[in-house]
Amino acid sequence: MSPDDLLYTKEHEWIRVSDNVGTVGITLFATKELGEVVYIELPKVGDTFKTGDAFGNVESVKAVSELFLPVTGEVTAVNEDLGNAPETLNEDPYNKGWLIEIRMKDPSETSDLMSAEEYDEYTKSEE
């Protein structure tokens, strides 16, 4: 069961919403698909993105995956600890493995995202 305080995208990102700030990461399902993460490319604080924009890349030994942002907004924090410890993404994808924090322009955009229950159902059909 995925954490039920998060919202999920079909591309396997999660977002934790608190007022107008969203914390974004990728799901356990995604990290299992990738295998060991070896390199993470993230944006800078102050960069702005629209819903659906690619905001970075995650690389495993065998593949590179593009990351998509589920909301519009400005990056307010980046998880710098991942630079020297990309494996954190595999070990703790929902907490220490967070990727970026974003100030959302329109928090109502999250209404299109999946709940934990819906996401679990969705990944079951992808397997």
Binding site: A30, V38, Y39, N57, E59, V61, K62, A63, V64, S65
Partner: protein, 375 residues
Amino acid sequence: MLTSHCIFEGGSLSENKRTALFAVHKRMGARLIPFGGWEMPVEYGGIAKEHAAVRSSAGLFDVSHMGEFEVRGPDALALIQRVTCNDAAQIEDGQAQYSALPYPEGTVVDDLLIYRHNAEHFLLVVNAGNIDKDFEWISTNNSFNARVENISDRISLLALQGPKALEILQKFTNTPLAPIQYYHFARGKVLEADAIISRTGYTGEDGFEIYFSPEHSESIWNAILETGAPHGVLPVGLGARNTLRLEAKLLLYGNDMDQTTSLLEAGLGWIVKLDKTAFVGREALLGQKQEGLKRKLIGFEMLSRDIAREHYPAFVNGTEVGHVTSGSPSITLKKNIGLAYLPAEHSAIGSTFQVSVRGRMCDAQVVRTPFYKRR
């Protein structure tokens, strides 16, 4: 998250063939992916762990997707000499040889292993994705009376690779393994199976490849893993097979060479014996040698933390001059390495160039290969 530039891309799983060990892989929790028309394990419990096991202990690979052809008859050697570029007349009974099938242009139909049972009986081992193409190519060129038979469906192939491979495998066979020299083989029993036990591999380590009838697959697989587990032996998927072979600069057909690259450009001049009897592609390869090569497959290290992947373009002074054919983190060396085609004038050891990593220019340097050599 959208995955691209995966080293393994292919069609849907349902169209793919399965080896005799498919159910075993599934039960062990392997991630299965389409590869060369087969549904194969890419990893069981992490590519890095599996890679390290092969370097420090041993790893067991199911590579039964590989193709096997038998060539028999008084003209067997004549046919092999005609279609391959290495000199198969130089190997003795019980010896194996790395070789390739050239096109008339000197480009590559496939690379392969040739095993000589005796003067009138050879075994050819080819890449899974090329089985039909190779069989047709060899048959088309069989103006001799050699009998060529595709026995791929009747052969399972396991590879046990790593410093502990000999010790572990010896527990399951009475055939003395230590006397088998590198690129030689013996015929003997492994458990109940009549097997070819070959001291060859695709990892840069000592080890063996074992050919036998598929019904013995599960018993041999399980026995090796159970006995090997306390020694650190792991099952290894295609993911680590790729990172291992790249560190050892063993080429991968379809990435590092194919029908568009010449054997000489690919650095396989050492298996092109222009002074043996006439063979398909000889004239073209001789011409290329006399004229000099315009481009070469080189090994490189990234000077930044970025990872170059296959198909990424290579630049010198802002001009696109070539492309990456294989690229990956090197798990043993903790660097990002790869192979690329570059113009000959930029291919010297120490030369620098750039790889465009999703639009960003990242510095790389030509280095000596193999990247990794066992002690």
